[in-house]
């Protein structure tokens, strides 16, 4: 393994990790503009994180080691997840270690720890949030796997780098099956990142919150890690969406001259994705929790339909 490979991996991971709060800030800013507010500014998430890191942590009396360990596990999972996804170049030495199925597993691991920690302290809100989160997750996870299988069928591999290599650098082909997978993926992105139709990231209203209810007991550096992990999750999902459905512009393996173009392309795509996410959130109303299974069931069926189109249309699909 050459030094260039390691540098590429490190650069991409660090870029994603430090760009994630900015992405969140951009989405919030877009939402504010759409609501005719001036907005908190793009750098607000960084200030929040700095403030939280400087504070002293307060723990509940009956909090166990699990409660204190969880923020680090969750943050670690998200960093690992984002380092599997190629954002700038397709040479990631890390990617053979984990494919898309492992990626789904990483999300699940983080989620299990979060739910356990939420129930650990024993407050009503914590277990309520954990149960709702598990309801959403149990439906979203198989759908996410199905979404990944369509591009995996096209490129004959479950490794993200190979998928991106096939989609971006081979002869330009349009795959109708990816249209279905993309529709399903957008629905899953909204559900998994606690965005509007499923959960509202801006509210602490006890009857509706899912994600916020789980991290209610955290403070200071623990809360900072949790929030950063949440921003990273959004970043990872956006990066996966870009990698699977609009991968053009990403640099080829070992082709360093393509890097500036790849950075510009990535920033442009992230800006567009953030704005689109804000618009999507603005035009949809939050649905009742019992409508969520229907929403995610539809996402699952769309993903299955994408796979079917791929199989039944053959090479044209």
């Amino acid at each position: 393994m050459s030094l260039g490979f390691v540098a590429s991996q490190l650069f991409q991971t660090l870029l994603s990790v430090f760009l994630a709060p900015l992405m969140l800030g951009w989405v919030n800013q877009c939402r504010a503009w759409l609501q005719n507010r001036s907005g908190p500014g793009l750098l607000q998430p960084y200030s929040v994180l700095r403030k939280l890191f400087l504070k002293d942590a307060v723990l509940a009396h009956n909090a166990s080691w699990l409660f204190r360990l969880t923020p680090y596990v969750v943050f670690g999972c998200m960093v690992l997840a984002v380092s599997i996804v190629p954002v700038l170049a397709t040479d990631l030495p890390f990617s053979p270690a984990a494919d898309v199925i492992a990626l789904v597993g990483l999300f699940a691991l983080a989620r299990v720890f979060m739910a356990l920690a939420a129930m650990d302290v024993g407050t009503a809100f914590g277990s309520l949030g954990a149960r709702r989160e598990m309801l959403v997750a149990s439906l979203a996870e198989p759908a996410l796997l199905m979404v990944f299988f369509t591009p995996a069928l096209i490129s004959q591999s479950t490794a993200l780098t190979t998928i991106v290599e096939t989609l971006a650098h081979k002869q330009l082909t349009l795959y109708p099956s990816l249209a279905f997978a993309a529709a399903a993926f957008v629905m899953l992105l909204l559900a998994e990142n606690a965005r509007v139709p499923v959960d509202n990231p801006a509210t602490h209203l006890e009857l509706t919150m899912i994600h916020e209810a789980m991290i209610l007991e955290y403070s200071a550096r623990h809360l900072a890690l949790m929030e950063w992990a949440q921003a990273l999750k959004l970043m990872t999902y956006t990066a996966i969406g870009i990698a699977l459905f609009v991968p053009w512009g990403i640099a080829e393996a070992g082709y360093w001259a393509g890097l500036p173009l790849a950075i510009v392309a990535l920033l442009a795509k992230l800006l567009a994705a953030g704005a689109a996410l804000a618009v999507l959130e603005m035009v949809s109303a939050k649905m009742r929790i019992f409508r969520v299974p229907e929403f995610l069931g539809m996402a699952f069926l769309f993903a299955v339909l994408g796979m079917l189109t791929r199989i039944l249309l053959g090479s044209a699909g």
């Binding site: 249209a179 279905f180 069931g297 539809m298 299955v304 339909l305 039944l312 249309l313």
Partner: protein, 217 residues
């Protein structure tokens, strides 16, 4: 390249058909119907470009004028007049309907496979999708209780037939196409009159009232 574009349009058509199947609100259904018409006319233009058949441009223009502008506008006026703009269909089981829809897709793909292997047209791969969208529209008509969604299902059935015609034989003769376009337009007018009749008699647009027999007097 045009082959891929046609396949993409076909997939979009199928996607919209599924979206219509799962949509509860009448207003959104009309938007989806307009989007379906738009995709259909785009597809006709692409086929026309690829095969250099001039009459397909005219047919694309008719499709656009009728299915993207005229019919949605008519339906809009209708639901405004009937005051059902915000009507929501509550009594449909969407996941089950979608599952049945997927079975229909598999069925029609398998049915179309031997036919499309015989065809020599550039669009032969999409015959299965055309058939699937026809069947999905039928399914939508079966599952809805209200009158307006049923009519939208009927119109989208016509979209599927039109798409099948384009993909199997590069479109129908001009006279037939004009005739069908006129039929659909007049049909929608007549449906509009029916809606008012139904509502006057039953105070509701629920089709299930029509199933009961009533004494005259």
């Amino acid at each position: 390249m045009s082959n891929q574009l046609i396949n993409l349009m076909a997939a979009l058509l199928l996607l919209i058909a599924f979206a219509m199947l799962s949509q509860r609100r009448i207003l959104r259904l009309i938007y989806l119907f307009a989007a379906q018409g738009f995709v259909l006319s785009m597809n006709t233009v692409i086929v026309a470009l690829a095969t250099k058949q001039p009459h397909l441009y005219a047919s694309a223009l008719i499709t656009f004028g009728l299915k993207v502008i005229a019919l949605p506008w008519l339906l809009h006026r209708l639901i405004d007049r009937l005051n059902v703009r915000w009507d929501v269909e509550t009594l449909i089981n969407i996941p089950t309907t979608m599952l049945v829809g997927i079975l229909l897709v598999i069925l029609s793909f398998n049915l179309a496979l031997p036919i499309s292997q015989l065809a020599g047209t550039i669009t032969r791969g999409t015959l299965g999708i055309a058939m699937a969208s026809v069947l999905l529209s039928l399914l939508m008509m079966i599952t809805r209780r209200k009158a307006v969604p049923q009519v939208i299902g009927f119109l989208s059935l016509e979209n599927g037939l039109f798409f099948a015609a384009t993909s199997a034989t590069y479109g129908m003769p001009m006279v037939v196409e004009l005739g069908i376009a006129l039929d659909v337009l007049v049909g929608t007018f007549i449906f509009g009159i029916f809606f008012f009749q139904i509502r006057e008699t039953f105070d509701s647009l629920d089709i299930h009232h029509l199933e009961k027999l009533k004494d005259r007097g």
